[in-house]
């Protein structure tokens, strides 16, 4: 990955802040958006990006975060529908080329794949890992 990307991260919870800290440390320009200002407390002191307090389903908030300039948008909130909406808006309204959405419910993942939204489902990922380690143990 190039070291000077502009990345917008929606949701500053455990996953969002972790990504923001890592990407900022790697030298990327980062903006994090969260509706709750206390969430920014999860960011490390070394985090050098921007913070935007607001609801990412509001178009004006995404504009304020300069999503139109972003190389990558990652939506990590706890709400599947917010992540899926943000991903689609970033793509179609702001023309962002690379967009990732966190989706908890595997049944939703399938339909949004069809809509062209790239999704990562922690539930499926964790289940795969559990199964793999279980099968490994079982075979020994």
């Amino acid at each position: 990955m190039a070291s000077d990307l502009f990345i917008v991260i929606v949701g500053c919870g455990r996953l969002g802040s972790h990504l923001a800290n890592q990407l900022s440390r790697a030298g990327h320009g980062v903006v994090t958006i969260d509706a709750d200002e206390h969430a920014f407390g999860n960011l490390s002191p070394q985090y050098s990006g921007f913070r935007v307090e607001g609801d990412a389903t509001e178009l004006a908030v995404l504009k304020q975060a300069k999503v139109d300039k972003a190389d990558l948008v990652i939506s990590t909130t706890r709400d599947d529908n917010i992540n899926l909406m943000v991903a689609q808006v970033a793509k179609t309204e702001f023309g962002v080329t690379r967009v990732l959405a966190r989706v908890f419910e595997p049944r939703r993942e399938a339909i949004y794949r069809r809509l062209g939204v790239e999704t990562i489902c922690p539930t499926s990922v964790a289940a795969d890992l559990f199964l793999k380690s279980f099968i490994k143990e079982g075979s020994t």
Binding site: T57, E58, A60, M85, Q88, E105, I111
Partner: protein
């Protein structure tokens, strides 16, 4: 018609009643259990308790046979998800979403979802009404690109007593109908405007103000 409504609160209750009165079959999906119980007691609707953007709940509510799905929750993201699920996965022919943020209306359109914004409609109605008492009705049509306004002509208006052909209204405006003594007339050039007439005026938002000024003579 079979209508599926996702959402809650009084708007949904009265929407249901309106649809039922017209003889439609209505199913409601609501997250609040208590509200579901109340709704089922008061109205002859099928009520499903749960998250309407959950594919299983939507299925359970019979979205496959529905003619229309209406998503009117207070969250734009949920309304979008419901409509996309219904149209893509369950082949519902008509889906309509409420957008709470008026800016999202165009965004939803790009994503293939028909949306309406009550905020925008109410705001424009209030603006126009408070500006002029004589305006009886104002309806934005064509995604707000055209205004239809109903105005009652007062004796003080400069257009009163004039023939239509002698009026100098700005371009892109039209007096479509004159209502006089409970008769509706589509006016011609030789129609005279009289005090007490109610006219139906078609304007574009850009010239709405100047046209109203020309008719009422008000400077503000």
């Amino acid at each position: 018609m079979k209508v599926l409504i996702v959402g809650g609160g009084k708007p949904v209750y009265f929407l249901c009643r309106t649809f039922l009165d017209k003889g439609h079959e209505v199913t409601v999906i609501n997250r609040d259990h208590e509200e579901c119980v109340q709704m089922a007691r008061r109205l002859k609707v099928t009520v499903v308790h749960g998250d309407g953007s959950d594919p299983n709940i939507l299925e359970e509510a019979g979205s496959h046979g529905a003619d229309a799905v209406l998503a009117v929750t207070p969250n734009d993201q949920d309304n979008l998800a419901v409509c996309q699920l219904a149209s893509i996965q369950h082949d519902v022919p008509r889906t309509i979403a409420l957008v709470n943020d008026p800016d999202n209306k165009n965004v939803f359109k790009k994503l293939g979802v028909t949306a309406f914004s009550t905020t925008r409609t109410i705001a424009s109605m209030i603006e126009q009404r408070t500006a002029l008492d004589e305006i009886i009705n104002l309806i934005p049509v064509g995604e707000g690109k055209v205004n239809i306004t109903e105005i009652k002509l007062q004796p003080t208006f400069p257009v009163v007593g004039k023939l239509l052909r002698n009026l100098s209204l700005p371009t892109d405006s039209l007096i479509a109908v004159v209502l006089r003594n409970s008769d509706a007339v589509v006016p011609r050039g030789d129609t005279e405007l009289r005090a007490g007439d109610r006219i139906v005026l078609i304007t574009l938002p850009a010239n709405h103000g100047p046209v109203l000024k020309a008719i009422t003579g008000e400077t503000s």
